[in-house]
Symmetry: C2
Subunit: 217 residues, 2 copies
């Protein structure tokens, strides 16, 4: 029984790594679609989100099945419950990638953000991609130093997110109203993407170390 359970936990972990890998590809595609106004890449991200959704639903079913059949307690139970929560966060990260891609598609053939903000959004995108890749590796290896790195990357994202508002509300802002709307939404999506990654990283860290960090803000 114990061996079957360990095998099933590995299956859960493998699937989380798989979904996280797909989320990393989607955010990479989404930020490129966004920064380069590449509408076909945006369509790819939007289509791929259905796959991510399907995989998370399947993973949830597997986790609930494990709870029913194996009736885990203590740390084993926490692992399965955490998997359900990690799955929900990955699903939302996929949604954020999709929302960023949708902005690129809506505005096509126009660019989504004016020149003065392109550098900031390139940085935001690159950080989100780096975070998603580190998250995939963290889920695979449980190397908690990656959780620390993800938190540091998220601090940078928060600073960039605030800088978007500073720029948009500053005196030199020459963007049209549509640019203001897009910059506001896109910055929020990038920031939420990273927040979910931090939330997952905390859970993995907790499972690896046993130190519970309540998950609210």
């Amino acid at each position: 029984m114990r061996e079957v359970f360990q095998q099933e936990l590995r299956e859960v972990q493998d699937r989380l790594v798989e979904i996280s890998g797909l989320v990393a590809i989607s955010i990479d595609n989404a930020t490129r679609a966004f920064n380069e106004s590449n509408v076909s890449l945006a369509e790819t991200v939007i289509a791929d989100d259905d796959k991510i959704d399907e995989l998370t639903v399947n993973l949830d079913e597997l986790a609930i099945n494990i709870l029913a059949r194996q009736q885990p307690v203590a740390r084993d139970l926490r692992i399965v419950v955490s998997a359900l929560r990690i799955s929900a966060s990955l699903e939302r990260m996929g949604d954020m990638a999709e929302h960023i891609a949708q902005l690129a598609r809506y505005r096509f053939p126009d660019k989504v953000v004016p020149k003065s903000l392109r550098g900031t959004f390139s940085e935001l995108g690159a950080l989100d991609v780096a975070i998603a890749r580190k998250l995939t590796k963290l889920l695979e290896t449980e190397d908690v130093s990656l959780a620390e790195e993800i938190r540091n990357d998220d601090d940078q994202i928060d600073a960039l997110h605030l800088s978007v508002f500073d720029k948009v509300l500053g005196e030199t802002w020459k963007g049209a109203t549509v640019d203001t709307v897009d910059a506001t939404l896109a910055s929020r999506y990038h920031e939420r993407f990273a927040d979910h990654a931090v939330s997952i990283a905390k859970k993995v860290q907790y499972l690896a170390t046993g130190a519970w960090i309540p998950e609210v803000d």
Copy 2:
């Protein structure tokens, strides 16, 4: 054992109803703070979110404890897992109320939105409040007709959310950039609040009827 379990499920349900009731009060306060630029009411919402967070963490611990001690299967297991997810959604609804209140506080003593959008935000706020109250009653009574009402209210919110963009991007928009940013964020927060309520309503409906609706978008 079975009787103890039923008693514990009632305890879970009571706590969900309690948290949902607090969320309903918070969104009511938040929308009033927002529409009337009432900064002390905004502070109340921000402080009350800590209480909501604490209650959801406690509820999650109770649910995990029930899983460990009672080892429920089949429908009983789904109820406890659903409670964990409903708790997470209620926590996010509290965050949305807090974000709306924060906008009111940031801009004080200025109003958050210009005159031309005040009617729309009054409607959005009233609908969010109505949804939160119906949700509390749904959690209490499992009267699934309320789930239907919540979905209809959400359709209205989605239409109002789109109308905010139409107005902001329309030729008659005279708002400053800060008004555009605030309207964009506030409208998104109102819409997300309702989305979470719909997501919870679906879960309650599923538990009451046994008809599974996968929870992704």
